[in-house]
Symmetry: C2
Subunit: 174 residues, 2 copies
């Protein structure tokens, strides 16, 4: 395993060049990211069990946002359980511990690009190719905290998702 087959998976539908827009940061792709996750789990005493690890791998390999049932299909093909809770539990674990994010607009999940870094992510979703990029959202989050504070609201968690056009689709359209 860990083959840096950075290419695409065969059976995919919309080819979603989901890599971060423009110069894609490959440093955290599949293999490496997984190793990193292992490490993190060790440190934090989390149990990255086979299903959970495999679910993360699936997200990493997909390199785009995919739904729980799609993850489930893959898991069950490989001998894990065939019922929805299998996927939802693994995904919930990954999300709870920062290995993945949930994209509410798409009812889908995506591997985190900066696991363990305590970041404030925002998500940029291309309306044409469906790519999802995780971007640095510190300033956005600060503005959000401020807006909340202005009415006495304490922000604990946030989902910040933008739909628009990614640079590659924009250039094609032009």
């Amino acid at each position: 395993m860990n083959t840096p087959k950075d290419a695409v998976q065969p059976g995919g539908e919309p080819v979603a060049q989901a890599r971060a827009f423009s110069s894609h940061d490959h440093t955290l792709c599949s293999g490496h990211a997984l190793a990193l996750a292992e490490e993190m789990a060790q440190e934090r005493n989390l149990r990255l069990t086979p299903v959970r690890r495999r679910a993360l791998e699936i997200l990493l390999e997909a390199h785009r946002a995919i739904g729980a049932y799609e993850v489930l299909e893959r898991l069950s093909e490989e001998g894990f359980g065939k019922q929805p809770p299998v996927a939802y539990r693994a995904l919930d674990f990954l999300v709870d511990h920062g290995f993945a994010h949930r994209i509410r607009r798409l009812n889908a999940f995506v591997a985190c690009g900066h696991p363990g870094e305590d970041h404030a992510p925002i998500f940029l979703i291309c309306r044409d190719c469906n790519a999802v990029a995780e971007a640095e959202g510190g300033p956005v989050r600060n503005a959000l905290d401020a807006a909340g504070a202005a009415v006495g609201f304490v922000v604990e968690r946030a989902s910040i998702e933008a739909v628009g056009q990614c640079p590659s689709c924009a250039s094609v359209a032009a």
Copy 2:
């Protein structure tokens, strides 16, 4: 109709003091907001038909975020259709034209507090009382646009939703 029964509906579950946190701006409550919507529809040549109007009224009266099926139940009780598309179509219309917003985190809908004003709303969701406040999100949206631009992404629409604690629940907890 149009009774300004600004009060609450009887059968509600979690009492969600959904009015905007702190000093609630009642100026746009039920009756008035509805009249305003009528006006707007006139100007823009939109067809605010009975189902659509009633769906908006239901959102306004609820004064909190409610799901499509809850809206449907009310609509069907009043002689409108009994099938999901009835509610979803009315709600989609309201959302598309800015009379209401969709809260993705809750799979729910809420009447807009500033219809027709071309605003950039953000939503503050209380984790304790489930209240949803629509707040001014101009600065947040600007930061988001900038973050997108930094990677060549053009933001067209955004959903910005925060979960946290509203001031009234915070004071109770203290």
